[in-house]
Assembly symmetry: C2
Homo-oligomer: 231 residues x 2
């Protein structure tokens, strides 16, 4: 007698999965995802988004407030987290087991995440020892759909003098990631901010080995850090 029972979950299409992921990322700081932000993220025209939002709200995956934006319903959030788990497990697996560079995994995972079964993901997770972070330092949702929410601060906004642990690189661009790896700026390294130049200038950091790096603002905004208590 109930729609959810009568129609036992028609599988989501690739497009739908992508839209849900976008909405999740765009609302991760709270608030609504706007049509144009989604359109830009998915590289489609805004009317395509409007149309899809209408369909998704009819199937109960999102909440759509016309002219305002959208948010995920609990059901939509569950689906989005499942996709993000798939994506991040895939990235981890490709990096650990198949020698992929952290700059190249995103594109590959982006296509595979729509094709892998739950079973395959869990086997990969198992082979990796249930990793909690992907190669970029992003937290991997659990199979049950829980995700760690850490309060991270951008390197670009860290006060001079502070010591931080570089936790996550919020970027997927292969060229930038390659450069960061060359500079030794990977998740897990400790940094001390020794200076920052004015007018959105670069941040200068000291690495654990005493060497320094000059990090331009564009990059420093992508480096998400956790304050370190010690000294």
């Amino acid at each position: 007698m109930n729609a959810a029972i009568r129609s036992p979950q028609p599988p989501l299409t690739r497009s739908v999965e992508d839209y849900l992921k976008s909405v999740f990322h765009l609302t991760s700081q709270g608030g609504f995802a706007t049509t144009s932000d989604i359109a830009e993220m998915l590289e489609v025209a805004p009317p395509s988004v409007s149309g899809m939002m209408k369909r998704l709200s009819e199937t109960g995956l999102i909440e759509h407030v016309p002219y305002r934006g959208v948010q995920l319903t609990p059901q939509g959030r569950r689906a989005a987290l499942q996709m993000i788990r798939r994506h991040r497990i895939l990235e981890s697996y490709l990096t650990s087991k198949l020698g992929y560079d952290w700059g190249d995994v995103h594109v590959e995972a982006e296509r595979l995440e729509h094709a892998v079964s739950e079973k395959l993901i869990e086997r990969m997770a198992d082979a990796l020892g249930e990793p909690r972070y992907d190669p970029h330092g992003a937290p991997i949702p659990t199979a049950a759909g829980e995700i760690e929410e850490a309060e991270l601060v951008r390197l670009a906004e860290t006060a001079v003098g502070r010591s931080v642990m570089l936790q996550e690189v919020g970027d997927e661009n292969p060229a930038r990631l390659h450069y960061l790896a060359e500079q030794g700026l990977r998740p897990g390294v400790e940094l001390t901010v020794v200076d920052r130049q004015p007018f959105n200038g670069p941040t200068i950091v000291r690495m654990a080995d005493g060497t320094t790096r000059v990090v331009g603002q564009e990059l420093a905004l992508l480096l998400l850090c956790r304050p370190v208590d010690g000294a």
Copy 2:
């Protein structure tokens, strides 16, 4: 001035990839693949096949003789073999590295083969040591597009008294594969045909360890064997 140069290979859709694979398999003994055979294999209606055949022959992937059937062009054959390589490498990888049962790999590979990159397939092949056969004993095309063509004979048609090597299991049905594995009927085992009952009855074989198996015709038709010279 030439279409193949002007438009540098629009990537094939999933559907197209599936049609090409079907045509390859249906023409592997030579001759034409018919509309209804393709329709049955892909579980679509015959008119859908007619329509696709028209498109594929316009793009030069198949040769279509109306009311007769289709064959692959060299270009279509290349694409089909690439898909088959992907499929079989994936099956091998899932079996060897992720603990999949040989009955379960087909479905998983069927979906992944459309999503993996060439690079990923080659990394998997490399990690496996460039395998030549998949878990069912089917030959894996090389990256260059060459495939071994062995002359195999069905167990059901092997003369009583002959000794053979079970080379390939021409089936993907999980239940049948599971049963065959239980019986020890896997690629690589040696068998001697000791009897066959009349009226399409079962074939009785002796295994290397001296035990015997009674193999019904349905299964005996799927067991592809290579004659053994010795004794």
